[in-house]
């Protein structure tokens, strides 16, 4: 009798211990390793704001590469040593250098063994990070920053009903050729004609900058209604030549990124704001940490609503203005001074 009482007391103590351990483990803050390329900018701010708004019990281990690729190896070692609960990466380059492509994932230097959420990766499939946006095998999810090409084209068409779209790009760049191929794929579906103008390459990856103006002139000859400026590092450098020549021919330029609209002469872009991308990455991070959803079960997706960015200086020169129904959702930039 005495022995059974002692056993009951021990059982109760055991159950209480279990409950204590369980509640204590629930209260332990989760550690997020936040690897940044160039400091905490808009996407990072959005990510942090979301966690704060959700009162997430997390400890952020923030590391900034400061645009120095050599620092990334140190991040990988630190991640392996500290085993955080989640890794969050910013940008295509840093993400690839931290977790590698899907093919490289099994190599020792990339096996960080931590669920990963990436943000601001323009083309996760094309860059080899994952094989697909859904049902992919890596313990990873994320938020690309580029609006899918199909949505970009739909947005461009609602703004300006074009029949002939000129593609001027550097064929030596993977991002640019992938985007060009996607535009061509949707041309038949959306019933428009593509005026394909890959630039002549000089050397391995350098296109001839003089070719840009010539390509625009040829597109104008073929009566292009709109020029598509895709994710293309070379064209981004040459964008002033492109937009100035295009404007002289009266052809508007639609850009995949807002930089060419905000700081250049492109007419408009349909983009996801980095802040929104960061917040969406926060949603995915909490699904992993709070709801225990495996990262590979969370789709890689962009936000569902983008923003039109319209360069009013270019719009005034071209006399092409956004439709009234979009005005409320439009961010007008470079408004001429006389307004």
């Amino acid at each position: 009798m005495k022995g059974s009482s002692v056993k009951i007391v021990f059982d109760i103590l055991f159950v209480l211990c279990l409950l204590f351990v369980r509640s204590a483990s629930a209260d332990v803050p989760k550690r997020i390793y936040l690897a940044l390329w160039d400091g905490c900018e808009e996407a990072c701010r959005g990510f942090k704001d979301y966690l704060q708004a959700e009162r997430a019990n997390v400890i952020l281990i923030e590391r900034n590469a400061g645009k120095d690729p050599d620092r990334i190896a140190g991040f990988v070692e630190e991640i392996k040593a500290s085993s955080p609960d989640l890794l969050v990466t910013w940008g295509t380059y840093l993400t690839l250098k931290t977790v590698g492509t899907e093919k490289e994932a099994l190599q020792a230097r990339f096996s960080v063994g931590v669920p990963t959420v990436f943000m601001v990766v323009s083309q996760p499939v094309e860059s080899g990070l994952v094989s697909a946006l859904v049902s992919q095998g890596r313990n990873m999810t994320g938020v690309p920053n580029l609006v899918p090409v199909s949505e970009q084209l739909q947005a461009a068409r609602q703004f300006l009903p074009f029949k002939r779209l000129a593609l001027i790009y550097n064929p030596a760049e993977v991002n640019a050729t992938v985007a060009a191929a996607q535009v061509k794929k949707y041309a038949a579906l959306m019933d428009f004609e593509v005026i394909d103008k890959p630039l002549l390459t000089r050397g391995e990856d350098q296109a001839d900058s003089n070719a840009v103006a010539n390509a625009v002139a040829e597109a104008a000859q073929k009566k292009a209604d709109l020029i598509y400026l895709g994710p293309d590092a070379f064209m981004n450098v040459q964008r002033d030549i492109l937009t100035e020549t295009a404007t002289s021919f009266g052809i508007p330029v639609f850009s995949a990124a807002e930089g060419a609209v905000r700081n250049g002469g492109a007419l408009f872009a349909y983009v996801n704001r980095y802040y929104t991308v960061g917040r969406f990455a926060g949603v995915k991070a909490l699904k992993i940490l709070r709801n225990k959803v495996p990262a590979y079960d969370i789709p890689i997706e962009t936000p569902q609503r983008g923003v039109y960015v319209v360069n009013m200086t270019a719009a005034t020169q071209l006399k092409t203005y956004p439709p009234l129904s979009f005005v409320q959702a439009t961010d007008f930039v470079n408004i001429p001074d006389n307004q």
Binding site: N272, R305, M312, L324, V327, N338
Partner: protein
């Protein structure tokens, strides 16, 4: 006619009463549905406009709580509609008010059922209430709310407006009075017809008229009474339409503000009024969603029409002698200036067909 008895008279009276009650009752219901519809679509249109504004601001890169200048926008919302008591935006996570037209509301938790309704299905939620923390005084009020979504389709908050329902009640009461008066008039007309028939049968010996002359006299008398029926019914509809005016003008004001806001934003960004792109299709979409609107015009400040949707010509007529253009009876027109830096650069004008119930339902 000789077999016309008291029972026939009672039967005819009863049938007439039933016919009158059915017709007037149906008319009242039709107009009441229209008034309720106008009132509800006005609130929903205004709230949709506010929601679009909040979502667009969030899409530009901020959280709901971080948005600036929202209180001014909410105060404008209250000023635009005399039936709006207050409007507020609450956070869906915490249930606390983030912004409110009444500054004291900020930080206060909203009733739990609002959060539940905001979390539920549907674009709008409605609630009739007379008491609770947000219902001061004894006026009847109605709550209409709509969820606010962020760019990744997550409900982040809700915008809720409190509407006084006394305007609607007043309109309904007036319409009920009109229905009652019309019913009485029609019953009296029926009674007069019946009495004239009875008199012609009962006192036929006292009238020294031939049979044919007597029939003509009775027919003329009946015709005179019967001709009062369409006049009375037409008058009832006109009075109903007149009763509806406060609701029609209230909605017109909201629609004008929904048209003016993007137009002013475009003009402020440097789009010339005449070159506004897609104005006609935007106006047409507004007309499609609000079938009582006959036309939408965007004019320059001198009144020259730059963009038009619908048929304005139908609502106006020009005096042959003076050439002065006036609005036809049965149409309502309202206009608001399009301003740029306090200067009027143009006008938005809408025309409403006040007889839309009569034309569509009868």
């Amino acid at each position: 006619m000789r077999s016309f008895s008291f029972f026939h008279a009672v039967g005819l009276c009863a049938l007439w009463c039933i016919a009158v009650l059915i017709y007037v009752g149906r008319a009242f219901v039709m107009y009441d549905i229209a008034v309720t519809g106008l009132n509800e679509t006005r609130a929903k249109a205004a709230l949709s406009g506010l929601r679009t504004f909040l979502q667009s601001e969030m899409d530009k890169g901020s959280d709901l709580i971080q948005l600036g200048g929202i209180r001014d926008r909410l105060l404008l919302f209250v000023r635009q509609d005399s039936d709006v008591e207050s409007v507020l935006v609450f956070d869906n996570r915490t249930g606390k008010i983030l912004f409110g037209s009444q500054s004291l509301q900020t930080g206060t938790p909203v009733p739990e059922k609002w959060r539940q309704k905001c979390d539920g299905q549907g674009t709008f939620f409605l609630e009739d209430n007379q008491d609770g923390p947000f219902f001061e005084g004894k006026k009847e009020k109605r709550i209409i709310g709509t969820p606010i979504y962020n760019a990744f389709n997550e409900k982040t908050g809700c915008v809720v407006a409190e509407y006084r329902s006394d305007t609607l009640t007043t309109v309904r009461n007036r319409m009920a009075e009109t229905s009652f008066a019309t019913t009485l008039k029609l019953l009296l007309i029926g009674l007069a017809c019946l009495l004239s028939v009875i008199a012609s049968v009962r006192f036929r010996e006292k009238f020294p008229l031939k049979k044919k002359e007597k029939a003509v006299a009775v027919s003329l008398l009946l015709l005179a009474f019967l001709s009062l029926i369409p006049m009375t019914l037409g008058n009832m509809k006109s009075v109903f339409e007149s009763d509806m005016k406060p609701v029609i003008s209230g909605k017109a004001k909201i629609i004008l503000s929904l048209l003016r806001e993007p137009t002013e934003k475009a003009v402020a960004a440097g789009v010339p009024l005449a070159d506004i792109n897609g104005a006609e299709s935007f106006f047409e979409q507004i007309r499609k969603n609000n079938p009582e609107i006959l036309f939408v015009l965007l004019t320059d400040k001198s009144g020259r029409v730059l963009h038009e949707a619908g048929s304005a010509a139908e609502a106006f007529f020009a005096d042959k002698l003076t050439g002065k253009v006036s609005l036809r009876e049965g149409y309502f027109s309202a206009a608001e200036p399009v301003r740029l830096n306090e200067d009027t650069v143009g006008w938005i004008q809408i025309g409403v067909n006040e007889r839309f119930v009569r034309e569509n339902r009868f």
